[in-house]
Symmetry: C2
Subunit: 414 residues, 2 copies
Amino acid sequence: MAARRKVIIVGAGFGGLQCAQALIGKPVDVLLIDDRNYHLFTPLLYQVASCLLAPSEIATPLRTLFRHAPNVRYRQGRVVRVDTDAKLLALADDDVVAYDTLVLATGSTTNYYGKSDVEQQALGLKDLGEALRLRNHVLTCLERAVIEPEGDDRRRHLTFCVVGGGPTGVEYAGALAELVRLVLPREYPELDRRDVRIVLVEGTDRLLPAFTPRLSAYAKKTLERLGVEVRCNSLVASADDRSVTLVDGTHLATYSMVWAAGVQPADPLDQPPAGPSGRVAVDDHLRAVGVDDVYALGDVAAGHDRKGATLPMLATPAMQEGRYVAREIAEGPLAKPFRYRNRGTLATVGRSAAVGKIGPLQFTGFIGWVVWLTVHLYYLIGFGNRVRVLARWAYYYARLERPVRIIVRADERS
Amino acid sequence: MAARRKVIIVGAGFGGLQCAQALIGKPVDVLLIDDRNYHLFTPLLYQVASCLLAPSEIATPLRTLFRHAPNVRYRQGRVVRVDTDAKLLALADDDVVAYDTLVLATGSTTNYYGKSDVEQQALGLKDLGEALRLRNHVLTCLERAVIEPEGDDRRRHLTFCVVGGGPTGVEYAGALAELVRLVLPREYPELDRRDVRIVLVEGTDRLLPAFTPRLSAYAKKTLERLGVEVRCNSLVASADDRSVTLVDGTHLATYSMVWAAGVQPADPLDQPPAGPSGRVAVDDHLRAVGVDDVYALGDVAAGHDRKGATLPMLATPAMQEGRYVAREIAEGPLAKPFRYRNRGTLATVGRSAAVGKIGPLQFTGFIGWVVWLTVHLYYLIGFGNRVRVLARWAYYYARLERPVRIIVRADERS
C-alpha cells in the first residue's frame, strides 16, 4: 500500500473537529492534536459556570467521536513550534511529528489587552477549567457573605462585575441574575437579595454590538428587569483583589470580576506570518499565505467574506471553514474559493428569553429562546449529551432548579 | 419567644445528615457545619473515579436538602478546636460559634499508617476531589501510553496498583478493569489490552474480610476473570514516583498506586478524650464520655453493638446513630440505649456482579447486582439524582459506554 498523505489538524474546537469529521473515510491519514481530550461545546459554557449543566454534558471525549474512523487518530499534546520548511511540529512533551499537510485550528484565548492587573484578578470564561473555577468562586462568595456580618464586606462578596457586553457577557450576566433570583430566597434566608449587585460593563454604546440595535435594546431591557446594572460606554481602568475601577472613576467594591471582554488568536507559531490582529493571513482557499501545505481556519485565521471583511471569531465561520478545508484536502484544489454563508446569530438573555437574527428574521423573547434551544441542541455533539441537556432543561423549567451547585476541585497535591 | 436550644452538628456525611434531617421541625435550632457544601454519596464515589458518573450525580447541595427546614441552617466551615467547658467551637476562618448541644459527626480520613512515602505517592479515593484527580490521572496515563514507544515505560503507564481489598478497593479494581475492557479495544487502537496490568493488594488472606468466605471467594474469582491480579497476604512496603514495592520484595513498575487500605477517625478535637483507635469513646446513648452535652457518632465515634464489639466504620451504623441522637436530643434522655441493627453488607464486583449478605441471605452475581443497585438508588439522596443515575446505568448497560471520560481541573491560578 502506498504511503498515504499525513494530515495533522491542530485543535479540536468547532473548526478542527468539522475538518477531521469531514475527512473520515477519505484517502488520507489524519492526526488530530489537542491538549484537551474532549471537544467542548463552548456556547453552553456559561451554563456550567452558572450551575445549570455539568461539565460532561457539554464535553465529549475525542476518542469516542472518532471511534469508528480508522483513518483519524487523536493525540493529546500541545504544539510549541512549527517548522514549515522541514514540515515538523514540536510538542511540549519533546516529541516531534511530521506532516504532509497541516491544518491550524488552534482557536483563541482570552484577551486582557495587556492589562496585567486585570489578568491577575479576572475570572475567565473560556474553557471548562475556568467555568468550574468561576462556579466555585461564586458559590464560595455566597457562603462567605452568609458568615460576614451585614455591611460593606458582605456586600463586597455579593457584588459581581461582568466585563464585556458580547454574547458571553450578556448570557453569563443573565444566568447569574437567574441563579441569584432562584436560589437566594429559597436557600439563603440569611441574605437579602437586594444586597446582590451585578454590573455588566460594555465598552461600546450598546450590548451585543454584532446584533441589530433593536435586539440590543431588548437585551438591555431584559437584563435590567432581572436586576442587572448595564453600563455601556464604559471600560475597566484597573483592578485589585478587592475592587474594580472603571475609566469614569466608578469604584466597585468586589471580589469578582468576570472577564468576557474579548479574545485573541491562539497562534503558537509566530509563523506562518500573522496578519493584522494576530490572525494568520490566509488566501481565499484558506491556505496560509507564504508557506506550503498549511491551512488555517477559525479564530486563529483571518478568513474573509466576499466583500473582503474579516470574519468574526465565532463557531459558525470556523465550522464552514473546517468543512471547506477538508474538501480542499480530499479533492485537490477546488475550483471555487471559500464563501462564508452567514446563517445568523443568537444569544440568550436569562431563563426564557433570547435574541437572534436568522436571515431576515429577528427573534426576541420566548420564541427567540425556543429557536436558541433548538439550534444549540442540534449542534451539541453526541446523542447522549443532547438527551441529557434537554432533560436537564425540562427539569429545570419545571422545578426552577440549579442542580449542579457543588464546590469541588480536582484535588491537587500541594 | 424563649431562646431555643442550639444544636450544632459538625459533619454532613451519612450520620450528621440523618441527625439533622431527623431534627427538622423539632423545637431546637440546628446549625450544620461542613467544609463541603454538599452531601456526598460515597458508596458510588468509585464510579466517578472510573468515568461512569459525573460528580453532581452523587453530590447534593446541603442548602437544597434543608430548603424547607426553617430550624436547620447550614454554614460552610472547618472546625479547628472545641472548648467543651465554654461550649464554643473555633472555626478555621477565625469565627467562634456557641452551642448548647454538640454532635460530632466528622467521619474519617484516609489512613496511610504513618508511611509518608506512601502518602506522598498515593491516589486517594475518599472525596470528590480525589476521585476527580484519580479519573484525570488514569485517563492521562492512557494518553501517555499511546505516545510512549512500546516497552517498559508504556507498560509502566498501563500498570495500576490498587491497595486494599475491602469494598472500595474491590469495587474500584473491578470498575477500572471494566473501563479498560470496554474502552481500550474501541478507542485506543494504539494500545494492546494485554499490556494493561491491574494488581489488587490485600493484607489479610482474603478479599472483603467483613463478608463470608464464600462471598470473598466469589469476588476473587470474578475479579480474576476481569483480568485483575489479586494478591492476598500482601502489604505495601514502600513507594516512590515510579514504583511500588511489596513486603515480599515484589517490585511493581507503575505511576499509579490507588490507596483504599483503610481510614482513620477525623477527630479535629483531641477532646473529648479519644478511645482506642482514635475514635471518640461514647456511652450507650452515644454521649461522649467525660464531657457534657456532646454526642459523637459514625466513623469518628467508637459506638458498639450489644456484645460490646466496636461498630464498623460504615454508612449504616452512622445513619442509625444519627437518627438515635436526633431522638435523644428532641425527646430528652431515652429509656432505651442505642442498638445497632445489622441490615447487611453489599459490594459490586465489575459491571453486573455483586456480593452481599442481608440477614440470612447471601447474594452473588447478577441477582446480587440488582439488589446492590436497588439499595443504592434507594439511599441516594435526591429524586433528580436517582433518576439521572438510573438513566445513566440503563444507557451504560445498553451501550457499554463510559461517558464521563474528560480530563478537567478547576483551573487554579499558580
